[in-house]
């Protein structure tokens, strides 16, 4: 298949403006600014069926359409690019930013134009030091060529682009926490409503999109929504998708395919199959560690929003973590719970305390100190987190916990009954 989002990845000089332009780069921005109104851009993206690639899968064009159609000079519009890629199992945005920064930039400017933004802030996680440097260089090149800054390409529209580095906090990938952080606060999520389009960063109309989401925009604008609808599974799961494959496979990495790639094809063809041929597939987390796990017998599924939802899980950020039969599911879930406990911002009691409970109870089961009530306790704690917090971080800990305990209950029970692990290892090893 044609590589779309990753067409420049691996190309000599892929980070430079010259190479990006030679491949047709910035033509979509030229086209939009010279012949389309902001609303026409939004309409085209709406028509394409593009859904957010950050995790929730919300229709992008619809999100853009929530922004006010007139700009109140006292309340400028802001476009925030969520480059805080931190969901365990996810590493696609880093690839785009490091290998094709101008694609990210052109997509950001198209979105910025559509929502009538005066500044684009790219909020990149602090650890991506090199990614931030690469973006800064690309932005300087874009300014020099008139693609960013004042009166872009003579259109009369002006828009600054600023890279803003985070400093180590998973929660800042949550859109309202990202806004808090950008304002110079702790990354505390805020209640919605008000939604960002009504009152976002600094109380101004704001739209927040994931890096991969905006990277789709240049192709939609250049080739048209009708073309976009032919990629993937129209009408609701369209376009190219970056799948992040990690864990027990021979060739982990980022793979691009039309939305709806069968999971088996990703693992056994693109990924080269299981890391060890003598070990069978046990489970896959399909959308980053926040989503319910799939048992091997549930893995006949296409990787798109609706097919995975039908299996009771989510595409999320398309971070696929593959586990073979050597993995202790208690150890795996304990590690996930440790992550969420560590990353809970601490505002909401059910999440702050609940994630700690999950971590501690899972740790004692793993250590052979579990008691018979522990499995129901895990489910009870999880159910008391879900829906009772400002943001979805608590849910993101509780949903996998419920799925692990429910789908691998025998294995959890074995730890409690026998004070040992049926896999015979502390955790899955390569």
């Amino acid at each position: 298949m044609e590589r779309i989002l990753t067409r420049n990845v691996g190309k000599e000089g892929s980070r430079t403006l010259a190479v990006y332009e030679a491949g047709g780069g910035y033509q979509a921005l030229r086209k939009a600014l010279s012949s389309m109104t902001p609303d026409a851009v939004t309409e085209e993206v709406k028509k394409s069926g593009l859904r957010g690639r950050g995790g929730a899968g919300f229709p992008t064009g619809l999100k853009w359409s929530f922004m006010p159609k007139e700009v109140d000079p006292k309340r400028p519009h802001y476009f925030l690019i969520n480059a805080d890629e931190s969901e365990p199992g996810t590493f696609k945005d880093r690839l785009l930013m490091e290998e094709d920064p101008h694609l990210v930039l052109e997509g950001s400017l198209l979105g910025g134009y559509a929502i009538r933004a005066s500044v684009v802030y790219i909020y990149i996680r602090g650890e991506f030091v090199r990614g931030a440097e690469i973006l800064e260089r690309a932005i300087a090149e874009a300014y020099a060529k008139g693609y960013a800054g004042r009166n872009i390409l003579g259109s009369g529209w002006s828009c600054e682009v600023v890279v803003h580095r985070g400093a180590g906090a998973y929660i800042c990938g949550e859109e309202t926490a990202l806004m808090s952080s950008l304002e110079g606060n702790r990354g505390y999520p805020r209640l919605k409503p008000p939604f960002p389009a009504a009152s976002g960063v600094w109380g101004c109309p704001t739209t927040i999109n994931n890096v991969e989401t905006v990277a789709n925009a240049p192709f939609i604008l250049e080739r048209g929504a009708d073309w976009y609808l032919t990629v993937g599974k129209a009408p609701k799961n369209t376009g190219p998708k970056l799948y992040c494959l990690s864990g027990h496979v021979k060739r982990p990495g980022v793979y691009e395919a039309p939305m709806g790639l069968p999971l088996h094809e990703l693992i056994y063809e693109l990924g080269g199959g299981m890391l060890r041929d003598d070990r069978a597939l046990k489970a896959v987390i399909p959308g980053g560690s926040s989503v319910p796990v799939l048992r091997a017998d549930e893995c006949e599924v296409d990787l798109d929003f609706d097919s995975l939802a039908a299996k009771g899980t989510m595409l999320g950020s398309a971070g696929l973590m593959v586990m073979d039969e050597s993995v202790c599911m208690v150890a795996a879930m304990a590690r996930i719970a440790h992550f969420y406990h560590h990353e809970s911002c601490g505002q909401c009691t059910p999440c702050r305390e609940g994630c700690g409970w999950l971590e501690r109870v899972l740790a004692r089961i793993e250590d052979g100190r579990g008691v018979p009530q522990d499995l129901d306790l895990l489910l009870s704690v999880s159910n008391n987190i879900i829906g009772n917090t400002i943001c979805a971080l608590g849910d993101a800990a509780a949903m996998p916990a419920i799925s692990f305990v429910t789908k691998f209950r025998d294995e959890f029970q074995y730890h409690i009954d026998h004070k040992s692990c049926p896999t015979g290892t502390l955790a899955g090893r390569a």
């Binding site: 400028p76 890629e85 931190s86 969901e87 365990p88 199992g89 996810t90 590493f91 945005d93 880093r94 996680r125 602090g126 650890e127 991506f128 030091v129 090199r130 600054e160 600023v162 803003h164 580095r165 985070g166 400093a167 180590g168 906090a169 998973y170 952080s181 950008l182 304002e183 110079g184 606060n185 702790r186 990354g187 600094w202 992040c244 494959l245 990690s246 864990g247 027990h248 982990p252 990495g253 980022v254 987390i285 560690s289 971070g319 973590m321 586990m323 993995v327 150890a331 795996a332 590690r335 996930i336 992550f339 560590h342 990353e343 911002c345 502390l426 955790a427 899955g428 090893r429 390569a430």
Partner: protein, 154 residues
């Protein structure tokens, strides 16, 4: 605090935002880059410069895990131990580093050369196991590769 050049840099950062407070994270980055860590006096200086309470600055320095309140080693090693890395052997990697450097996560070697930290997902799951050595990711690690890398450091 750090001289006129530094202050000029800070002014340029503040100018990128509609409110000075928004420059807090980037300004703290500059302080850390210049001094290696962020001490109490710097927090006070930043608070004054951005017109926020010192307690607010301290609250942020302690909230974000990448800001260092104490100096770290010349080589700061942050080992990712989240699930994808765990599946590919990050626990063994950590044990190896602990034995080799004779420190535990959170500690610095007595000569100040190495410090070690256990961190959460660094977004490099496809090249697990990995760690971040100062600003750079070291990926697809094996124990032998780690030994060679550490020995090659100046």
């Amino acid at each position: 605090m750090l001289g006129p050049e530094f202050e000029k840099k800070i002014d340029a950062i503040v100018a990128k935002y509609p409110q000075p407070k928004a420059a807090l994270l980037p300004v703290l980055w500059e302080v850390q880059k210049a001094q290696g860590h962020i001490d109490f006096a710097s927090e006070q200086w930043v608070a004054k410069r951005l017109d926020v309470a010192p307690s607010h600055v301290h609250g942020c320095v302690t909230f974000y895990t990448m800001y260092k309140q104490k100096p770290s080693g010349t080589y700061h090693i942050q080992v990712c131990t989240t699930l994808s890395c765990m599946l590919r052997g990050s626990d063994e990697l950590m044990k190896h580093l602990e034995a080799k450097l004779r420190i535990r996560p959170g500690q610095t070697t007595p000569d100040g050369r190495f410090s070690l930290a256990r961190v959460e997902c660094l977004g490099s799951c496809g090249t697990a196991p990995m760690f971040q050595l100062n600003d750079d990711f070291q990926e697809d690690l094996t124990l032998e590769k780690v030994d060679r890398l550490l020995e090659s450091l100046p």
